[in-house]
């Protein structure tokens, strides 16, 4: 069963030129050693301009890829070409065990994804893996103790630095309050940059990122709305600082949450091995994807999923350097994935990682089943989440029987009968969402940040609308 489709290849291609170049590689004569296994791995060697052919491997279930060419586009034309050959299904791929260079790539990949599992039939791979484990078992206990002590020292030092940084942050916020937040946006760019740099020095990158994002967020708003937004955002910063200082009084979930908000990271391995972390298995639909460049020149790629049969959302967040050219999520809105998601611990769990994939992403034309709740109930879910996690960012809302309405250039979402709350739609979605105005009633999902709703998708009588 091929997980790849031409639509998907088109979606992940960095640009049209890459697709055109990949098309030229559809001739089997360019390839040698084309093969695939049952786990969805496919590989081959593509003759480039040099003497040595490029080694290309792809993983169909999660659209992973690797090529030895020096291209700075990701995926490169060779990876796209191999995917294309697989999607078309016209070229014969030998079936067999993966060569060592393919297995090496598989081992280096993140565990948990379907392709990352070692091929069961590969006895050579098993031996290598075992050798690795044996080597790990022979670690010197004294060296391990020294390393643990060093780690503890580092952690203690960082806690001290963060505590000092939080005091500086509070002092900075106090200064802003004394000067008056009505005029904060006038100098927000410069002053936020200075204190963000201090937070970086204090090893609190989470707070630094929030501070760096504050000025662009303010400037995106109309001027009258900026002072109150400054109150909201600076208030959250103080809440995080205060919660961090009082960690011992918090629940375990909230403590984990506030530590991540400050900048402590949880490795994927630690998350997957955390028995207390929430796990949700089943069939998921891709609700939408977001891709934004952060001030630190990292691209933040979010893929939002909605569990089929419950109102649980999950978001996968990846950060990639802008220079790599990777611009979008490998998932397409509407796709269905069978997976177990493990959630980062939080009082309002959203961010997750895939622990196990039981069915790779497949295009799906069935309507996404929105939980049986209207707009008012969806907004109440946001209120509950906000109460549980005061520094909550975007929160997904799923709602049935709503209507998009227009007032001037601005679009709003309200219940189809007009009763209850009215949510303004993000200004950048005014044009793409305009055709929804013609529809009497739709089911929709979007991300609400307390000010604007970013619509992810809508199931309508004339088909599915997706944000792109």
């Amino acid at each position: 069963m091929a997980a790849l489709s031409l639509d998907k290849i088109e979606a992940i291609a960095p640009d049209q030129a890459s697709l055109s170049a990949a098309r030229k590689l559809l001739k089997p004569a360019v390839w040698s050693g084309l093969a695939a296994d049952d786990a969805g791995l496919a590989w081959g060697e593509c003759q480039g301009s040099g003497a040595t052919p490029y080694r290309v491997v792809i993983s169909e279930p999660d659209t992973g890829y690797k090529c030895t060419c020096p291209s700075r586009k990701f995926p490169c034309k060779h990876s796209l070409g191999l995917m294309w050959l697989r999607a078309e299904g016209k070229t014969v791929f030998n079936t067999g065990s993966a060569p060592e260079w393919v297995l090496d790539w598989v081992r280096r990949r993140k565990p948990g994804s379907g392709a990352a599992r070692e091929p069961a039939e590969s006895s050579a791979a098993k031996n290598i893996a075992l050798a690795g484990h044996e080597e790990a078992a022979e670690v010197d206990p004294k060296a391990e103790a020294r390393a643990a002590a060093a780690r503890e020292r580092t952690r203690t030092d960082r806690e001290g630095a963060i505590a000092a940084g939080l005091d500086e942050l509070d002092q900075w916020i106090t200064d802003q309050i004394e000067a008056g937040l009505a005029g904060f946006s006038a100098h927000a760019g410069k002053s936020c940059r200075v204190i963000a740099q201090r937070m970086v020095d204090a090893k609190a990158p989470g707070l630094a990122a929030r501070l760096d994002l504050l000025p662009p967020r303010l400037y995106a708003l109309p001027e009258p709305a900026r002072p109150q937004t400054a109150v909201r955002e600076l208030g959250q910063l103080h809440l995080i600082a205060e919660a961090y200082r009082n960690q011992e009084k918090l629940t375990a979930d909230m403590r984990e949450d506030v530590r991540r908000a400050v900048g402590w990271s949880v490795t994927r391995e630690a998350l997957l091995s955390d028995e207390a972390a929430m796990r949700v298995s089943g069939s998921w639909r891709v609700a939408g994807t977001l891709s934004e460049v952060q001030p630190d020149r990292l691209r933040r790629i979010e893929t939002w999923f909605l569990h089929e049969g419950s109102p649980q959302f999950a978001v996968l967040i990846d950060f990639v350097p802008v220079a790599t050219g990777v611009g979008r999520s490998p998932y397409i809105a509407g796709e269905r994935v069978g997976a177990t998601f493990v959630f980062y611990r939080s009082t309002a769990p959203l961010r997750a990682a895939i622990a196990e994939t039981t069915a790779s992403a497949q295009p799906c034309t069935d309507a996404v089943q929105i939980p049986a709740q209207g707009l008012a109930e969806a907004v109440r879910s946001w209120h509950r989440a906000l109460a549980a996690k005061p520094w909550l960012g975007m929160w997904p809302l799923a709602m049935r029987s709503v209507r998009v309405r227009r007032s001037g250039e601005q679009l709003f979402v309200s219940a189809a009968d007009g009763a209850g709350p009215v949510l303004p739609l993000l200004a950048s979605q005014a044009t793409p969402a305009m055709p929804l105005v013609a529809l009497e009633s739709i089911d929709a999902a979007g991300l609400w940040d307390g000010t604007n709703l970013r619509m992810l998708f809508a199931e309508t009588p004339i088909g599915r609308w997706t944000a792109e």
Binding site: R232, T365, P435
Partner: protein
């Protein structure tokens, strides 16, 4: 302390700056706790829902009876029309196919195809017209009518091109009723519209129209008078001297040639100040308002012999080609094309575009004048592009088959300098359905860059035509 206290007393102090306006004493909040006041106020603001507008706009999307493009074609069409190098010709071919097949873009695709929709809304149905005019002030908007949509009660409200098309259709069924409808609105029409509308009477021109045409001979607009003259002349018995005819006759020399058999030879003498590069335009303007009958009568040559008499003068043959086109004398046009195969190429250079045909006439005209095996324009793009825009349709199979067999075409494909994507797209746009496979076969050897968008166009047109 409650939310009202925070908003009424605390928030103003935070905004103004506590140096100027110290925090007021509110129960439950210490006056020196600036940060606590900030966090509480921020959270209070976060829980507050935004207020909707006092009223929403009433959007009245017109009811579009055309079928929405099915899912099988949508992605293909989006890919084509959003491709970087998709040309106007490809766009026009898709729009014309939609018009002919009574299809319309999916409403959700309108924002993604905004430029295409704005440029070709007249072919894409009333919903697309509404979309294209959504930013236009209400008072400046035109009505939304499908090309074959207007009826007797509303035909005066539609754009002029649609009105002319409506009148032409009416003339085919009931010429008297169509003329009567025109007579009713005639006095109130501006000169530009009168010029276009009177031209519609050429379809089904008959003796009953003479009274109306004679009244039009006294019209304020000289152009209307000229068109009325030529139509009255077609009815026989020119109502008055045509000043354009006199001007043409001044430039035509008539003499006898031949040794054994004397025959009449006509020659067109261009003014001294008309150079080679402006000759086509001058001839077009000079002969715009004369008819075949008038010329034959004034020169005292039978109509059947007129072309033979002019065969030694290419400029005069070109003039007769335009007159024959306007008079719909396709037999004479075919005779002219035998002597002057590049007549249509010269028409394209001259800016001759004041003619329109019903479907059958259009095919007849193309078959009469376009002789690809005898002459192909060099460069191809302007002339074939002009032809596409004039006929607003595909080439007849016979003509396209000749194109594909022509030496010019095989030289293009096999030569050193291959045709660019613009040329390939243009011929794909002109290619009738029955010859698309042959065209695909012929362009298959080209580089992907040159053929890719053309192939996408062929696939899209196939997809559109396959819609049941």
């Amino acid at each position: 302390m409650n939310v009202r206290d925070l908003k009424a007393h605390i928030l103003p102090a935070l905004l103004a700056g506590t140096r100027r306006q110290p925090l007021p004493g509110v129960a439950g909040l210490q006056p020196d706790s600036l940060l606590g006041a900030l966090s509480l106020s921020g959270q209070a603001l976060r829980f507050a829902m935004p207020e909707g507008p006092p009223e929403f706009d009433v959007d009245s999307w017109p009811q579009d009876t055309r079928r929405v493009l099915p899912e099988s074609v949508r992605p293909r069409m989006l890919r084509l029309l959003n491709a970087n190098r998709c040309t106007d010709d490809s766009e026009l071919a898709v729009a014309l196919a939609c018009s002919q097949l009574r299809l319309r873009p999916h409403p959700f695709d309108l924002p993604k195809l905004d430029g295409f929709v704005r440029r070709h809304s007249q072919h894409l149905g009333v919903a697309a017209q509404y979309w294209a005019q959504r930013d236009t002030k209400t008072e400046s908007r035109k009505g939304y009518f499908d090309e074959d949509g207007p009826a007797a009660e509303n035909w005066t409200e539609v754009p002029i091109a649609v009105r002319v098309a409506y009148l032409e259709r009416q003339r085919e069924h009931d010429p008297a009723a169509a003329r009567s409808a025109l007579e009713q609105v005639w006095p109130g029409e501006p000169a530009d519209a009168r010029v276009r509308l009177i031209g519609a009477l050429q379809t089904g021109l008959r003796e009953d129209d003479r009274a109306f045409l004679e009244a039009a001979l006294k019209d304020r607009a000289p152009r209307v008078r000229m068109i009325a003259y030529r139509m009255a002349a077609r009815l026989g018995g020119s109502p008055a001297n045509n000043p354009s005819l006199a001007a043409c006759l001044e430039r035509i020399q008539k003499e006898k040639t031949g040794v054994l058999k004397r025959r009449v030879a006509l020659k067109l003498e261009l003014p001294a100040n008309v150079k080679e590069n402006t000759a086509n335009r001058w001839i077009r303007e000079q002969f715009a308002d004369v008819t075949f009958d008038e010329l034959a009568g004034a020169l005292e040559i039978p109509i059947a012999s007129l072309v033979a008499a002019a065969k030694d003068d290419q400029n005069l043959l070109f003039a007769l080609a335009m007159v024959a086109t306007t008079d719909r004398r396709f037999h004479a046009l075919a005779e002219i094309a035998n002597e002057l195969p590049d007549a249509w190429g010269r028409m394209s250079e001259s800016g001759f575009d004041e003619f329109s045909f019903a479907d059958e006439q259009r095919e007849h005209w193309v078959e009469s004048i376009v002789r690809p095996r005898e002459w192909m324009p060099e460069p191809a793009l302007p002339a074939w592009g002009w032809l596409l825009r004039r006929i607003q349709s595909k080439l007849p199979e016979k003509v396209m088959r000749d194109v594909l067999k022509s030496k010019w075409w095989s030289d293009q494909l096999g030569g050193e300098k291959k045709p660019g994507t613009e040329v390939i797209q243009l011929f794909c746009a002109l290619c009738p359905a029955g010859l698309r496979d042959k065209l695909r076969e012929q362009i298959d050897e080209l580089d992907a860059d040159r053929k890719e968008v053309g192939l996408m166009l062929l696939d899209t047109l196939d997809g559109l035509e396959a819609v049941q």
